[in-house]
């Protein structure tokens, strides 16, 4: 007997526990295999680009915190770099080192959540993410010492950072840097050769190298596909030239490669933190900038290597106290371009893993 079947459209999201925020996929399913998929977002579009045109240059910094809320320090850093490029404002040495320390700590914290959430999607229900959150609490304690906040720090300022770190910070950071490699090794040992992870993630959701370059992917997604491109090495900003570190790359571009790239990046971040802690000079932490900054007429594009990819800010100034145009080059939005190609042909359960391995943050996609 021949059964007549037809494909039908199912909504995955927007309120779904595994879509990492409010993301909706209109999936056309044939049984359980995905034959077509259209992503829909905009459920968290708050109009940050328009709101920034009404605030002063320093007043935009809390708005940038809320863009990619898991990597607030990186957002602040990219914005301050763009304004300093626009206005030609210098930054003192100690502030540069503090910025690098905060950015690398933030990278570790963000990758911990990325790996934990990815393993949550793979089926290891809560164990890895609870372990990773325990390490993240140590990093959040350090951030709370420096800035007073746990999630949206508002720490960096144009021309430096807002305040110096208290005396307990440097010994606490030294202790963290000594202990952290052992924890990363422990997670890696439990997960690297895990049969279930290999079966679920190896060979799934492959992003080939040419497609990755064509869609302007960046960050761990690009590096896992085999392209050795990291803005900290290719176009160094702040004081990154003074540190020695490697850039981990993958070979195939599947979910397992992206997971391995993030684990290795955490190790490299700890290495950078050790070097920065040794070289940290004394001095002031903010150069003399006026309270209301008025950059000269012009435009600037400042970009950094954020945990999710290349985060860039494009600023246009017309010599007034507020930016004329504030545009965010959001890495998560652009990394999603090839989601359809990566998902077609796989089952629904694999689709959730593929989506989780790209590691996006909806507040950045929608702005």
């Amino acid at each position: 007997m021949v059964i007549k079947t037809e494909p039908f459209v199912v909504n995955i999201g927007p309120a779904h526990p595994s879509t990492h925020g409010v993301f909706r996929m209109k999936a056309t399913l044939d049984g359980e295999v995905i034959v077509d998929m259209e992503p829909v977002f905009g459920y968290l579009h708050r109009g940050i680009e328009k709101l920034a045109e009404e605030r002063t240059y320093t007043g935009v910094i809390p708005l940038t915190d809320r863009l990619d809320y898991l990597a607030s320090m990186s957002n602040n850093l990219a914005y301050c770099l763009a304004v300093e490029k626009l206005g030609g404002i210098p930054v003192p040495e100690r502030a540069e080192y503090l910025r690098v320390i905060m950015a690398e700590l933030q990278r570790i914290a963000s990758h911990l959540i990325a790996v934990g959430a990815f393993l949550n999607d793979c089926g290891a229900f809560m164990t890895p993410i609870l372990y990773m959150l325990r390490e993240r609490e140590k990093i959040l304690d350090l951030f709370e010492m420096a800035s007073g906040q746990r999630l949206t720090y508002n720490y960096m300022r144009v021309g430096g950072v807002s305040q110096d770190v208290p005396e307990e910070f440097v010994p606490a950071l030294g202790k963290f840097v000594k202990v952290m490699p052992r924890w990363i090794d422990e997670y890696d040992q439990l997960l690297k050769e895990n049969e279930i992870l290999l079966a679920r993630a190896k060979g799934v959701g492959i992003l080939p190298k040419e497609l990755a370059i064509n869609i302007s992917a960046s960050g761990p997604v690009l590096r896992a596909s085999g392209v050795k491109w990291d803005i900290r090495k290719a176009d160094p900003y702040s004081v990154y030239e003074r540190f020695e570190f490697d850039i981990p790359t993958g070979s195939v571009g599947d979910c397992y490669d992206r997971y391995r790239v993030r684990i290795e990046e955490m190790r490299q971040s700890v290495c950078i933190l050790k070097q920065a802690l040794e070289q940290l000079p004394q001095g002031e932490v903010r150069s003399d900038v006026p309270h209301l900054i008025r950059p000269p007429v012009g435009e600037a594009y400042g970009h950094i290597e954020a945990p999710r990819g290349e985060l860039g800010f494009y600023l246009v100034s017309d010599n007034s106290i507020a930016p004329y145009r504030f545009h965010v080059r959001a890495p998560s939005l652009i990394n999603l371009t090839a989601l359809r190609e990566m998902m077609v042909g796989w089952k629904v359960a694999d689709a959730i893993i593929i989506f989780g391995s790209i590691d996006i943050n909806m507040a950045e996609v929608d702005r």
Partner: protein
Amino acid sequence: MEVGEVYSRRELDEAEGEQIETLKAHSQQPIPDPDEWLEEEIKRNILLTSVDAMLNWARRSSLWSVVCFPACCAFEFITTAASRFDISRFGMEIVRASPRQADLMITAGTLTWKMAPQVKRIYDQMAEPKWVIAMGACAISGGIFASSYSVVPGYNRIIPVDVYVPGCPPRPEALLYGIRMLQQKIAKISLIKEGK
């Protein structure tokens, strides 16, 4: 039937857009907080029966939340549920996606008009009794984004809210205090009053 012909590409989007515009037109005033019964009770000094006391104890000691995690406050909720600020000691570690099994909605994040019909649908699907905690500045009044063109100024435009927890994002201790306030509120509900 060809793949892609099931719905034309724009039909679903236009239907969604209409739904959003009608909800927006209906939500121009905030819904009043469901607190009128508290005033009368203070006047009358009600004594709860033992049935009430037991029912309220059962309800408040194991509140199960529904997934409603738009934005940044979601991560403070997740760290509250993690091992350092354990929410499981209040019986609340169950955060399941199905609204039919939940009785508490902790709204953690900014609400936009595009997301509003979905949140209202989740709230309508929850079974009575149900409570709402508005977590964070964006949930109370729109927060830092209140003047934006696409942000709903507070969840109480579309659903009634019981407890407001301020902060941006509120610390886990603040959220636990808000949950404690909700538990004290639930402890005062009387069965006689509830037959409405």
